[in-house]
Symmetry: C2
DNA sequence: CCTTGACCTTCCAGTGACTGGAAGGACTAT
DNA sequence: ATAGTCCTTCCAGTCACTGGAAGGTCAAGG
């Protein structure tokens, strides 16, 4: 399979696939004309990467997960640890974003949004985090 | 005030303050020795930026908000619009992260996390998004 | 007066994970 | 032969910093 078809199959843009090759996540063979040739195992890897990335794992996490996936003598504890750490990061981000949303929703709610210059949003930004929630 | 003291006051690293100057967010004066000299208005601006950034506004949003803040004839509607758009982006991210968390929490829960190689997390990543929630 | 150390300056490079575009070769269909 | 689509490589840009090198400045102590 050529890169274009793989891109459609795996749901990853050709550019991204080339980038994954550049950083050593996949190693497709080459045809005599220089075109990349993707075998089933490559396509499988790319699907694995697509799914991992969609769950928010970093590229380095993906690299490790892929290595564990291919290591028949892995310990599931190693996989679980990575997933748990990632889950913690996500929960941290969620907490941060939730706090932002609360503050912003409150501010947006308080703002008349008309032609007058008075604006509680700007007042908050200028005053600091006094009326946070 | 020199940059170091300003950094402590505004809670922004000196490097970041220099970067803000480079992209035109602040324009501190200069002493004869070449050192930046920050006046109250500069420090006020930096505090405004720190607060805006902490609410997740992009630098370009911050630039616009700062301009509105300094424009006495602004319409609060313009400010509100930016805040609302930002709120929408945050809600989008929250939805995405919440979905990731659900999937990951489920997978982590299903994984024994012991010395055996069998791992539902890897199975999910390899199989695609079948057992999402 | 000299040194030490903390501060300041500029400039360059790297981060993460792509993404866009240019320049040029290869393949397919007409 | 030609048009159009695919492929290749390489370089640059994104966002908001952050780290580090090389060197100037300042205040305190000997």
């Amino acid at each position: 399979m050529n890169i274009g078809e793989v891109a459609k199959t795996a749901g990853i843009p050709p550019k991204t696939i080339r980038y994954y090759e550049e950083i050593g996540l996949v190693r497709p063979a080459r045809d005599t004309n220089g075109y990349r040739v993707f075998r089933d195992s490559d396509i499988h890897k790319l699907a694995f990467l697509a799914r991992s990335r969609s769950l928010g794992f970093s590229i380095e996490d993906c690299r490790t997960l892929l290595a564990l996936y291919e290591d028949q003598s892995r310990a599931s504890a190693d996989v679980k640890k990575i997933a748990q750490q990632h889950l913690s990061r996500i929960e941290g981000k969620l907490a941060e974003l939730t706090s932002m949303r609360e503050t912003l929703a409150h501010l947006v709610d308080c703002c008349a949004g008309d032609g007058r210059p008075d604006c509680p949003i700007l007042s908050d930004l200028a005053a600091g985090a006094k009326t946070g929630s």
